[in-house]
């Protein structure tokens, strides 16, 4: 049997598909078109509504493979890896891509080892090499200082994880539909030596920073904890989430889940405001895929200005109060348009 088709590992929460699944479909669609093969979404879970599965077709899938079992209700590494391996062995996809989420980055390396194949982490670009049909995988490395292009020439499937939010989903095609294949996973692939006891939802305001469309982040420039709180007000006005540099987290002004950069999270929001951030190599590595970046820093030579689309070289303590005031005023005009 020949290796054929492009697979994406779709992710969901309690049967509801996550944004990253649709992002992967766009990546997968481009690859499947170039390889002239089918795009298959693989989904493991307890149960799914048909309407939810149909969304996968509208966003690009030709076929959906679903494995349903109570053990898949929440993510557990072993049954997820075993089931995926079982499906890969059975159907032999040529390419398998997952999102570089906590789930994807856990499942993919174990499956790659078990299938004796190569895996490239956290890719920002995927393409097909015309002469060979090989998957060309591009990823930032060494703190985002270089871009490495990587191939898996002789092993199949070619596996990659893709940086979440590094692309937008396709526009949905309301008429598109496809085949749903329900797969039974044999019992020996469903064992788990881990048991989920409970789950504690993040209570932090604004929620998960990697999903945020707007991030206002602060660094050492805030000088002290009380000052850093200014950012929360700004975040509220912009309907954004607060992020922080490693320095700010180490000083206790923000929690580790809010840390952006090489030793924290990589983010790709629509807008990133860097306030009082000098822009270390590690921090810049975490924001390079942001769509728009604005920076405020009193040092005109700060590195952060090299990546900024709009920069104000001035003291944050002078700029932020004015910005707050103007945003406030703008919000009020927006709230009552009829009173113009």
């Amino acid at each position: 049997m020949e290796y054929r088709d492009v697979w994406i590992l779709a992710e969901h929460e309690q049967g509801e598909l996550k944004l990253v699944s649709f992002e992967l479909l766009k990546r997968g669609r481009a690859l499947a078109d170039k390889r002239d093969c089918q795009l298959v979404a693989v989904l493991l879970g307890r149960d799914f509504q048909d309407g939810e599965l149909q969304r996968l077709f509208r966003y690009g899938a030709d076929k959906v493979i679903v494995a349903k079992d109570p053990v898949f209700e929440h993510f557990l590494p072993e049954p997820y890896c075993s089931a995926l391996r079982f499906l890969v062995r059975k159907h032999q996809p040529e390419i398998l891509i997952a999102s570089a989420t906590t789930t994807g980055r856990t499942v993919a390396p174990a499956v790659a080892v078990q299938c004796h194949t190569g895996l490239t982490a956290d890719c920002t670009e995927l393409d097909i090499e015309e002469s060979t049909g090989n998957l060309i995988q591009t990823r930032p490395s060494i703190g985002g200082n270089i871009l490495a292009t990587i191939k898996t020439p002789d092993r199949r499937p070619q596996m990659a994880t893709v940086r979440p939010h590094s692309n937008k989903p396709l526009a949905p095609d309301e008429k598109k539909t496809g085949e749903i294949l329900y797969e039974e996973i044999p019992g020996e692939f469903l064992q788990s030596r881990i048991r989920r006891v409970e789950f504690r939802l993040n209570s932090e305001e604004g929620g998960n920073i990697q999903d945020a469309e707007i991030i206002v982040a602060g660094g050492k420039g805030f000088k002290k904890d009380e000052n850093f709180k200014m950012l929360h007000k700004l975040a509220a006005l912009l309907s954004g989430t607060v992020g922080a540099t490693r320095d700010a987290v180490d000083l206790g002004w923000a929690g580790y889940p809010q840390q952006i950069g090489l030793s924290g999270k990589t983010v790709s929001p629509k807008f990133y405001l860097a306030a009082g951030i000098s822009g270390s190599v590690q921090h810049l590595a975490g924001i390079k895929t942001a769509e728009n970046i604005a920076a405020i820093n009193n040092d005109p030579d700060a590195q952060i200005f090299q990546v900024a689309d709009y920069g104000i070289a001035a003291d944050i303590f002078e700029v932020l109060p004015i910005l707050n005031e103007k945003l406030n005023a703008y919000r009020q005009t927006q709230a009552r348009p009829e009173e113009k």
């Binding site: 072993e78 930032p140 703190g143 881990i194 629509k270 920069g311 103007k326």
Partner: protein, 294 residues
Amino acid sequence: MKKAHPPGIRGVAVLADTGGKRTANQGKTVRIIVPVKQVPETSNVKMDPVTGTMIRDGVEPIVNPLDLYAIEAAVQLREKYGGEVIALSMGPAKARLALKEAIAMGCDDGILLSHKAFAGADTWATSYVLAQAILQMGNFDLILCGERATDGDTGQVGPGIAAWLDIPFTTYISAIREVNSETLRIERMVETGYEILDIQRPCLLTVVKEINFPRLPTLDGKLRARDCDLKILGPEEINARPEYLGLKGSPTRVVKISTPQVARRGKIVAPKDERELESAVDGLMDFLKQKEIL
């Protein structure tokens, strides 16, 4: 004697067919293995603007900063339950400095896997060598890894080792709450919150920064590190398959390295007085409206 590689219980080629029942070092003490990596100090990385390569002169090799959290977690467990912590690294001869630092932080011993046959390994071949070495190290309760290395930034070696050994594993651990005779209760940090999990021993965990505050090496530790003789092992000592090693054994190939275009043609204003400050902020407001952020 070469080790055979029989298929594991679930039809996958793993290193040892343990039937999922690899014995933990039962009882109260814990035997912990911490794989560490030596990396360049990336905070000071300078790129050559012409060649696009890293300027390695004056770049200090350090212990991967995220491995320090795994070392600290291991040492804390040993302090609480007794036992032993062994650091393990694959790398060039100078990577022994990374192991010495691990010992200075409290690890009991270090093993260096160093041989020209290991060079150029990707994460698949690296996890193979580390797993194969661990197989020769006797029973253990826990393998603790950093979340990822700050140079390659993949986070693939930890889960890879667990897959080779066919032991339970999980990632992004922010707390080890309890060590029980057969299980560990742990907290896993995911995008939306924290999973509380029970995992069977022996197992592999990768830990995140949130788990602790790594200690600095002590004088006593530094003296111990200076005086200790590290074991250096090659492919034969760990019964490795030659065809799985180094660049030759790696499924992936780096075909091109380029320098990313980081510079944006942004507008930077430097206001000199209050009026200019005002208009600078107006400019930012216009930028937000134009980009449909407001």
